[in-house]
Symmetry: none
Subunit: 218 residues, 4 copies
DNA sequence: TATGAATGAGTATTCATTCAT
DNA sequence: AATGAATGAATACTCATTCAT
């Protein structure tokens, strides 16, 4: 019992350190942010941080890892569905956009992998490639299943990812645009140009509805 | 004459410093890059750099300024034209994309304004807002002149700018995609969804509109 | 009874700490060795060490003290005998050599008194002087009782002590030379040059003396 | 010209740093000595030291290297001679003893190789083995050429080296014993017990003299 | 008695910047 | 215009020690 609660307390403090650190790193940039200030904001001393992390770099990496885990989660969920390529892409865009509006999500694009150790840097770069591949895969799937019209998957993925990543730079929590609104709008607009034209003159209702679901934004 | 040539030689050296610096800053990041290494690559000594610049920060700012000047130039040129909003936007996208594929262009989005002095930081942020306004202005103009269909200028500008800025992160000079090809493709794809249906044969309203909205721009 | 057993258990643990510490200090050097590692090797935690010792320095001092006690013991024993100076010296060399082959013995010469508090440092230095005095005393006694031939006690003591102390640096428990063998050999060789010519056949004075001085001791 | 003098000034300052450092390291021990104090004694600032050395460890290594170089030098000189084993050994003892009375010489035995980087530590350990081998070699040579009577070269070398190394711990420059006196006495005493007994009853003068030169200490 | 957590003091190192030459 | 040398400010990290539980 004391062990479990100890452990929980410890994990909570660790999380608190990460939350504080990610905010500070985003605010001031990794290099300008000092562990002293992280500690000050937590009302502890600098060496206390070393109870939870081995180095500043490890903190940076953990921040990134949390954001990446969230991405991995929703990608796994989307992969598990049997939606067509266009729908998968749309779901990815929405989820990614929402993630970009969080601290940990933004850290995915605003932290510099070169600040990490070689080992961790490799992990990060591999994960980034993985995300890129997912975008391209959904686009390719969509072209294969007819939900997306022919295009260059690589460059299209870059365009979409660029728009999304940019959110991590301009989004402000208290601003006039909510994360959900942005995510919805991005999901709609970034994919509307890709939707294959519905087969003309389809009288039936249900299929039409489906079309709307798939290409409804136009 | 000797004065002029002196001055020219000086300017050339200054430019050489900037070219070396911008490359190094992009390669390693501003904080990891040392003036020592800049000097080494130029086969001069570190204090020699101070003949041309007052500080490391000034070098950073000058790199940014060169990229910004290029942007200002082509924006001025586009502004001076009497193209409609859509065409202006397309021209902006193309020019901006090409610029992103250069070192100085990439520095616009890969350098962190917080590394600058307060004064210079303000200049940079103002310029960034100016670019954003330009995107929105062209979109608004397009909506006004009928070349662009109704949309939210702010978010649309963010999407386009994000795609473009991202180029500065992934473009590699020797890669399979040339800057021109990328610029062409981006100018096409990033605006096709925005183009208002051409004025011809306006009779068939509703159905046509539907179709066009989906794939009409291409 | 429970009090006594408590106390005994405590002392045993204290000893275990010292045994572990002296090994680690010898292995890695006092400064590189951390109390954390001492604790780890004992499967306890660092603060637990403070139940037995007030500081790292006290541990160091206690290690030294154990080694010194052993030296004091055999010196007392030799002092109590009525051997002549040469024999006393030989016994001292043997005992000292054997002691040098133990962890606590080696700590006498491999630990740096300057790592101790001023108070303890003085104790250590006094003890070292005491050992030195003992060597000189035996030599002087030997010269007085005719068992040792004339020499400079001070420098002779330094030579012998140096050879002996060096054992603490090169001796390895599992090596080809056993502590006993080393001690025996050292006791023999380090004193053979000092032995006065045996009293027999004193007739042939000059030439004999000459010869003996050279190789006479063996 | 300015280049040469610059270089010389630089080397002199480097040497001054080493002289100050070796003294301080000997006085206080490597770990207790701070670069700050080294700098203070030189009336410069700590970072200025980094103009001459890359790290504290490098300073330590350089101190050792100077002492080692002196040893290498006189070993090379002795090796080059055609003296018999006993004479070589005696010359080695004398030179080594004198070296031990210098700061750099003492640093050979009072600095801990474990404070060095793995690379430098290996160099040091190799050099130490080399010295040991030299002692044993001279002893073996002496036994082969008849100047040294049979003994165990390994243990004999340890005894002699121990006496010599100990000088580095107790010698004090201003003390009553001069380095030369010590070296002379050590050369005599540490080898007298090893000299092979001259062939008995040698009438002839010259050979006898020779004997004296070789084994004269007995 | 033992522990997890926290602390404070201390140190090597880096690097932009300046200065005398 | 250029350089070698020097500086000062700043920061991550270590570890013995303490304290509340």
């Amino acid at each position: 019992m004391p062990f479990e609660s100890r452990r929980r307390a410890r994990d909570e403090k660790r999380d608190a350190v990460l939350r504080t650190a990610v905010q500070l790193f985003l605010e001031q940039g990794y290099h300008r942010a000092t562990l002293n200030e992280v500690a000050e904001r937590l009302n502890i001393t600098k060496p206390a941080l070393y109870n939870y992390f081995r180095s500043k770099e490890e903190i940076l990496f953990e921040c990134w890892a949390i954001g990446q885990e969230q991405v991995d989660d929703f990608i796994a969920e989307i992969n598990a569905s049997d939606d067509n390529g266009l729908v998968k892409l749309r779901r990815l865009v929405r989820a990614y956009a929402e993630n970009m509006a969080t601290d940990y999500g933004a850290s995915l694009v605003r932290f510099d992998p070169r600040d990490l150790s070689e080992k961790n840097s490799r992990i990060v770069r591999a994960a980034k490639r993985g995300i890129d591949r997912t975008f391209r895969k959904y686009i390719a799937e969509g072209m294969a299943d007819g939900s997306i019209k022919p295009c260059d998957p690589k460059m299209t993925a870059f365009m979409i990812a660029g728009s999304l990543n940019w959110i991590g730079h301009w989004f402000q929590p208290g601003g006039e645009l909510s994360a959900e609104a942005i995510a919805g709008e991005f999901a709609l607009r970034l994919t509307e140009g890709l939707a294959a034209r519905p087969a003309r003159k389809r009288a039936a209702a249900a299929p039409a509805k489906r079309r709307r679901a798939g290409g409804g934004s136009r």
